[in-house]
Amino acid sequence: MSATTVNRRGFLQVGASAAAGLLVGFYLPEGSKLAAQTADAASARLNAWIHIAPDDTVTFMIHKVEMGQGTVTSLSQLLAEELECDWGKFRTEFPPVDKAFGFQGVVGSQSIRTSWDPLRKAGATAREMLIEAAAQTWGIDKSACRADSGVVINNSTNARLTYGKLAGAAAKLPVPTNVALKDPQQFRFIGKSMKRLDTPNKVTGRTQFGIDMRRPGMVYAAIARCPVFGGKAASFDAVKAKAFPGVKQVVQTSRGVAVVADNTWSAIQASRLLDIKWDEGLNANQTSANISRIFAERTQKPGVEVSKTGDVAAGLSGAAKKVEAVYEAPFLAHATMEPMNCTADVRPDGCDVWASTQMQTLAQGAAAQASGLPPEKVRIHSQFMGGGFGRRGMTDYVTEAVEVSKAIGAPVKVTWSREDDMHHDNYRPASYSKFEAGLDAAGWPVAWHNRIACPSITNSSGQPPQNGIDRTSTEGSHDMGYGIPNKLVDYHWTEVGIPVTYWRAVGYTQNTFFVESFMDELALAGGKDPVELRRKLLAQNPRLLGVLEQVAQKSDWGKPLPAGRFRGVAVVNNVGSYTAQVAEVSVDQGKVRVRRIVCAVDCGHVVNPAIVDQQIRSAIIYGLSAALKGQITIDKGRVQQNNFNQYDVIRIDEAPVVEVHIVASTQNPGGIGEAGVPAIAPAVANAVFAATGKRIRRLPIQLT
């Protein structure tokens, strides 16, 4: 394969040999939520590749990874659409992490949003080059040719040349600019429920997840870590551990003691036999009750203003009626089905890492730091993930595996037990939310004040909040979609010694519960129906109003339900999408049973309706586990939950029927992986209020 070059516009690069076929790289803007979406040509980065082999196979070297959210399939649809591929000859691979690809990661439901234009342009550009190559072969103008399903066709003679045959010649052509994209009316793949490309291997057990990695000469390790966050091993006695069958070696790591064995089970069992004296550090006395107390104390005083409209003090003092409430949400573990794990092979000249990671580039940096090698000597091999939900955005498990491999001089797979996973997660932050609102004489809200105390996610990731504001702590509140003339959201950045991180839908998971529950309190106080109140306050927010109206209609809001069933509603705008949910619940002897969820979602232009539907249903079950069951509690600085018996999740017998209604839209795509999470907890809590008269102000929802 010849060297690739970046052309002057920095957008496309092409390189090929006849044997290797056409190789097209293209630029994709990577996005933090705040990053500008326009990329300066000079700063352009290359981060994905098309490879057309002589046998007509089109391989998409996908720069993103798959954790169930459907990226492999839906990104392929974007590319295949404009490339006019034969879907049956389309393949995907995860290439090794490379600086040439730019920053690689899957977070914030960004994959479709950031790939929508660039991937289609890349496909279209490659298609035009293939057509031009065919036209030159036939000695005709390219306007007399068309591309269809992996072949270029001569319009007058119906002669055909396959992409595989054309690829070598096409690769030598200049890269066209400003290639026209297809009219959406002509879409064959985008907007269609293409079957998932990853299904066949997932029903036969052949899909290789990180935990399935095996290397020649590989050993297996498990690590005992300090049960208190931030603590370290002061000393240890490994006699019993070393005597366990299969154990080879015991080595200390930066945050624990690793047992190396010839199988995973021996490593995990023996790690529990280590006699370790911990230096527990500063957090050894922390408790959930104390954390709650700290939050309550901090919120006695004003915090840093995050958003402000009008004059809340004046609005409150002039109000005919005032409503106050305090809400709380607990820490949550991610509990991916595949426990954390990583395989590393550190050698003097380089390091290979096989990991299921959401943040490939950060994994490379972590491995470089732990190995002492420069990043370009670290090869990250991305594996399928058995769930991510934000947990695999962290790199702690990569660091540990690299440390162990370096210490023992052999390839090693470090596997976390479920208990390790539960005790040493970074958690969805616990949060505390105080509300004060005023209603006018007609019962409509005129003032809204929300004060929040919450640990900072960015701080846990090494970036202390600027000016004391971490918007992941207040999102869902400071950006809520309701038009109220006087609004204030203020925030107390409050660290309590428990590491936190991104958890599917992040700050919206707790703040939407707070906001949408309190909104129901205002509806009650003002004598309004919950939908009627939201309809009025969303008059200036057409897309959120649209999903509210649709969910009200599809759920028969306002019409009688069977005896013993009650409804609750909630709406949210997150990750560029708009969602409304109505929950139908029954309550029997203090047990909440969620019967049915109706969800309307406007996520802009839909790439794959079946995957949107899947992701919404998935997010609702994930959010429902948290709403009804999820809590990580702290005592003596330790997480008290060990395994799924103490951190149970929704199972099939408790899973409600979920109906998803997708709003037709030609707007640019929104995110979908996280869109369905936030509204479920408040929709259920509001339904529980309708059923019992008990207002749920603390999660999880527990009536007894």
Partner: protein, 156 residues
């Protein structure tokens, strides 16, 4: 170490192994059969489900020692090519998302269909509640089990 003889996916298997080692780790680490997954180690999540003499069992708590003379089937042996009715139905419905729990889900469902050719929703709840899916594919699993029952019963 001990030598334990049993049948694995229809072939005789002789395991020289720490006798207390759970079948899960023998499959994954000793034999490299990684289709069976580790989820909890305590029979709480079902990711490691295999069949022993046709019954669905959690391989994470099943010592190899207990298998002498028994027939063990894993996801690799359920069919050679994904053609078991449950796999066909799973494929048709695009059931998996991340896919990690699905070997266990499929093995539990396949054992259920051996007992009940046409399981009710209540039958499905009772058996499948032992298998956690964090992607929340439960609705699709339920549909796929009903569909697999049709396929198995001869309805295309």
């Amino acid at each position: 170490m001990a030598t334990i003889r049993f049948n694995l996916n229809g072939k005789p298997q002789s395991a020289d192994i720490i006798p207390e080692m759970p079948l899960l780790w023998y499959l994954r680490d000793s034999l490299g059969m990684t289709g069976t997954k580790f989820g909890c180690g305590m029979a709480l999540c079902g990711a490691c489900t295999v069949h022993v003499n046709g019954q669905a069992v959690r391989s994470c708590v099943t010592p190899v020692l207990s298998l002498t003379g028994k027939n063990v089937t894993t996801i690799e042996g359920l069919s050679a090519d994904g053609s078991h009715p449950v796999q066909i139905a799973w494929n048709e419905g695009d059931v998996p998302q991340c896919g990690y729990c699905q070997s266990g889900q499929i093995m539990s469902a396949a054992a259920l269909l051996e007992k009940k050719a046409k399981p009710s929703d209540a039958d499905i709840d009772e058996v499948m509640r032992g298998n956690i899916c964090r992607c929340g594919t439960y609705q699709d699993i339920r549909h796929a089990i009903h569909r697999a029952a049709e396929i198995k019963g001869g309805k295309a």
